[in-house]
Symmetry: C2
Subunit: 215 residues, 2 copies
């Protein structure tokens, strides 16, 4: 490792209820993405416990974790994480393979999700044939296509102009209104204001966890 | 390709003088990064001409283009483009290999550039041991370390909180005050306002090219 035991997260004590819309803010390197990886069962905490629905995540094996993730959680990664050799539709359909739907339904859901983020005419483009913002929108479509119970969005509008960003936030807002839990990381105040709760982080700790008075 | 001959840029007529600070805005997919790739001699236009200093770029071979790029141009790519197996210092020192400076001077310049972007204690971290914003700051350090004549920054503060973002803009502003030409893409108005000229793009065309009255 680059240095001695740097704690990315430090004594985090957090609970999120089903249907919440939580925004997380904090300076670069403050631990936001690390916290999202734990919440999303992509990383296991080096100490302490994490419970997702009725499971104690630290006791689950990697297969069970993958099943939990694929069934219940949609991710919008900060660096998009698209597979370079697959086109937009193939990237979006990937997590649906575990959904139990047939090929026709899966492809239909993928196309609809890409249309909802304004990429109807780019479904066959590969990531290197898309702009930064278009790639980000493919990763948003992938996270929402299977209507997961929880969506974790790490700077979902970071590569988007304000108008496109607001269109994406309307989609997330509508999904939350249907009962889907949303946890969102952003450094922009007007995006964080979509949440009913705003958490501020610094040096791996939660500094503040406030109800959003604007919402 | 994903579709028929889509024009990423359409009849662009643009000139930028030495020492300018130009901001480019426009919606996702409007052609900003494509234009930056042309200006930075990474891509050659399919038709028309591009002149960089006294060179007609379309007539240069790939070796000459690489030499021009490495000597005169610093890039901050929208997707950072860091080499995963090199640490932060090694990534920053890479373009300095062509600078004619000795090993000690090169390493010194790389460390100083990383310190100037707030990463003094992460010089030995590899990209996957850095947060999104820290990776972006490594790519900024790499672009400025060799004091190039032109810096092309594609959304340089996209992954940064506002405070860190303003620190980066101060660095770019100081470099411009020393005579370095800066071309910057952003979707945030307060970042664009650092430029003395603001260009707005849509569907591959330049809609507007105005002097910035705030600056
Ligand atoms: N290799 C390619 N093949 C086909 N089309 C491409 C390719 N690269 C980019 N494009 C298309 O060209 C257009 C312009 O892309 P560009 O990356 O310049 O946009 P941008 O303004 O930088 O957008 P963003 O703000 O999302 O980064 C986009 O619509 C994109 O889909
Ligand atoms: N694999 C790793 N090894 C060592 N340190 C790491 C590793 N991954 C992350 N870190 C460190 O942990 C800290 C928290 O990183 P994290 O990615 O959670 O930050 P963040 O709040 O998301 O920042 P940003 O806004 O820049 O994306 C950072 O200081 C980073 O350098
Ligand atoms: Mg992050
Ligand atoms: Mg771009």
């Amino acid at each position: 490792m680059g240095d001695n035991k740097l704690l990315a997260l430090d004594n985090i004590d957090l609970s999120i209820n089903e249907g919440d819309f939580v925004s997380i803010m904090g300076s670069s390197g403050s631990g936001k993405s690390t916290l999202m990886n734990i919440i999303g069962c992509l990383d296991v905490p080096s100490s302490g416990e994490y419970h997702f629905r009725d499971n104690n995540v630290s006791t689950l094996n990697s297969n069970k974790l993958a099943e939990l993730r694929n069934k219940d959680i949609g991710f919008v990664f900060q660096n998009f994480n698209l597979l370079p050799r697959l086109n937009a539709q193939e990237n979006v359909v990937l997590p649906l393979l575990y959904s139990g739907k047939n090929l026709k339904e899966r492809n239909q859901l993928a196309i609809e999700a890409l249309e909802s983020v304004g990429l109807k005419d780019r479904v066959h483009h590969r990531p290197n044939q898309l702009s930064g913002g278009q790639q980000q929108r493919v990763s948003i479509a992938r996270a929402i296509a299977g209507s997961p119970k929880l969506i974790l969005a790490d700077e979902p509008t970071g590569a988007l102009d304000s108008k496109t960003g607001l269109e994406i936030m309307k989609i997330l807002n509508d999904l939350n209104a249907k009962g889907i839990t949303i946890v969102l990381v952003t450094h922009e105040d007007d995006i964080a204001n979509y949440g009913s709760r705003i958490i501020k982080m610094k040096d791996g700790k939660i500094l503040e966890d406030k109800k959003n008075v604007n919402n």
